[in-house]
Symmetry: D2
């Protein structure tokens, strides 16, 4: 029987500003990538999301970022790997305080935005993320793109490496995502998104934009929470997976 985890970026509100519908998403996913204050997420938001996540049995992951609130962590930074490791460790500890107070704890780390993209190809930055995670908790898991430097570094460090796929992104024949700039890179039709999720979960494959069938081994599917219609997409994915008999479970214990 197929098993899959659903993860989403949450806790991305800040002060007077709200982003996404965290309450709705927490009813649909099994793993919450919670912002840690460096690209989003003020302390009170962290507390609220951690408490809600625990209430819904959702696992808490640290969505660590470059220090860039004005840029929402989406601007690449050439940051020294030792500094980056410390920046990640700082965020990890900060979030874990709220996770522990809520009765759980941070169980995995997933880089956000530009750091996520950097960790695919930049070995030094990938290792910095992994090193902070390992130092803080050797039983931590790392979530990233299949074939990324991040997952390679995680395995080398003895951490659990969790490959993720995307239900709402078009794939290329070589297994990589169609870049966001290109047309049709993002799927918005709930039926299409749900179908891709089911195929990923049950067949470990995806139909690329040119029709090729590509193998994509992923233990988690990322569902974006901050796009218009995000909740409706997530509901469609969850419903379709349940109909297909897929067990929706966190990848962590």
């Amino acid at each position: 029987m197929a098993v899959i985890d659903l993860n989403s970026d949450l806790g991305e509100s800040y002060g007077a500003w709200t982003l996404g519908d965290d309450d709705a998403m927490l009813r649909l996913v099994t793993s919450a990538n919670v912002a840690c204050g460096f690209h989003a997420g003020d302390p009170s938001t962290l507390r609220r999301i951690c408490a809600l996540a625990v209430g819904h049995g959702v696992r808490i992951g640290a969505q660590v970022s470059y220090p860039d609130l004005a840029g929402f962590g989406r601007r690449h930074m050439e940051i020294d790997p030792d500094e980056l490791r410390d920046v990640v460790l700082y965020q990890l500890g900060a979030l874990d305080g709220f996770a522990q107070v809520a009765g759980a704890g941070v169980t995995y780390v997933k880089p956000h935005g530009a750091l996520y993209h950097a960790s695919v190809v930049d070995r030094a930055q990938a290792q910095a993320v992994v090193e902070a995670s390992r130092e803080y908790d050797p039983s931590s898991a790392i979530v990233g793109l299949p074939g990324s430097e991040l997952l390679r570094a995680a395995e080398a460090a003895g951490l659990e490496a969790i490959a993720e796929a995307f239900a709402d992104r078009a794939y290329q024949a070589d297994g990589r995502l169609v870049p966001r700039r290109e047309p049709d890179s993002v799927l918005t039709d709930p039926a299409m998104v749900a179908m891709q999720a089911v195929r990923l979960a049950t067949e470990q494959e995806v139909v690329a934009i040119d029709g090729t069938v590509v193998a994509v081994r992923a233990r988690s599917i990322c569902i974006h929470g901050d796009t218009p219609g995000a909740v409706r997409l997530a509901q469609a994915v969850r419903a379709a997976l349940e109909v297909a008999g897929v067990s929706i479970h966190p990848f962590t214990v």
Copy 2:
């Protein structure tokens, strides 16, 4: 035999800016109030100070602050107690990550600057600091002014309340400090500072600015680390205490 702890504010550098001589102070004190990033202390500074503190057998405390880097945490903020509790918890977790990686852990909390002063008289803010500390670690100690709302709240919450005194500040006849604005509020003569420290440690009293002898029961003496001549003062205090046969020990295990 008299026992006293020496504490100092450390880790207050930030990025390109250096404040104080942390390396020298860590050889002289037994408890380091480490800045947590909200008034000072970038992540790499936190790592460095925690590692050094552990190397010297110095206890690590969280010097939590209002979120005010430009004001160095010295400007009072009317912050909602629930928000303040979360702001404190965030800092506590962030610092504790570095403390744990260094092989120790945060063992106490001491508010910084304007939050320190607020916690003397403002019950709601004092309770917010204590509540975050208790939530995070019920075995945490709280350091503050004798008679403060902070220590009262700590006791009420079942946390260890550590009263501190000042070796380099003049006292009034009622046991309160002479306000900084007033002349002679700060002692700068190493011999005088050392004498006050010894009397505090051995007799639990201090000679007030008007000559009155005032009882001051303190388990820790705060030594400022960022003033000119700070290291020389700390050396004088430590040497005088040792000559007087006072045992200099952390108040925490």
Copy 3:
């Protein structure tokens, strides 16, 4: 013939976060209180709002704030008046750059949030705001509450003092606003709000919550832009004023 200005807080988005419907509000008001980056308003938002305001013939005012992004400038700060003056001047210059590039310039200053409230009663903080405004541009106007220390300081400094009233807030018999905590402090019925605006503009009076008719002399009416239904309220106010034959004009040239 009655003349009134309509002002609203705009430009309060930040990075990935959006607040309010600035485009709609700029079609309805005559004066835009543009955030300056300290409680909201990233640089690109400032550019966009200034350009739009000029396009609509809307005057640009600096909505200056305490430095508190996480608290959206709503938390009172005990900031030294000299520092506050400089904090205000910094924001004023920053916004004015965008206003000038858009072909206009900042013509007035209105404090935001907790600084607005402080400037009603705190003479030193009020004077700091006025002093920065005067230094930067002696022809600047100051917008505030009737009877406030802020408007008193403006007049004393030779700046134009613009009293404002609120169309969507309930008044007390003594002319002050009903505090937000109390029930019925905020009016949400468009018809009621529009009626209050018309009475303010044509009769210079308002019906207080206890039925008393109170004189309120105001040259501008503030319309909140970030509440649900804000645009609809603003449309109702504008339409009612036009029907009543009130001329809606900026108070500045």
Copy 4:
């Protein structure tokens, strides 16, 4: 008769932290690159430095930076050129407020740290800096490295392009600086630094690290203000230039 300008990075203190000896440097240089708050420079520091600069007849330039206080603007950011233009314009306006209140105004722009390095080779970022400068004040000058994209963009935009040289940095035979990582990249002997400054000012050339004589046409010489011994180096440079009969004048009117 040879004429040269001396520029230095100033105003880089922040809140409780002090960097460099601005008062001493302002007696020695003719152009002050004043930090604008994004990598350093709180509002009160900006006021102080602008007032001092005007008092000494020193020109005020905007030392604009990436938004990165923790990294002191030394970490490269992949920031969208339109956003960067707005980030630069924001800083320019903010500083100019203080410069104007001091009785002068910002007369030139020089990027700081990682943005300085980016503007040597990255055309889009260089153009963003120039575009903001031109929008704000078409009579503004731009200071940068000879042959940089920055100076090319300045010329293309019709702004005055001011090439600068370094008295305390070793040059390569091709006219570029020896990278900081390499040994002997920074000159620390006052006599050597002074000699290089005089040769730059009088002969428009420098002796490269391999002994080659290289032409370096520069209208300004940069003197670092935040290194140990900075003031002594600046004094040596100034004295040697005066002895050599070089006229030390700002490049701007």
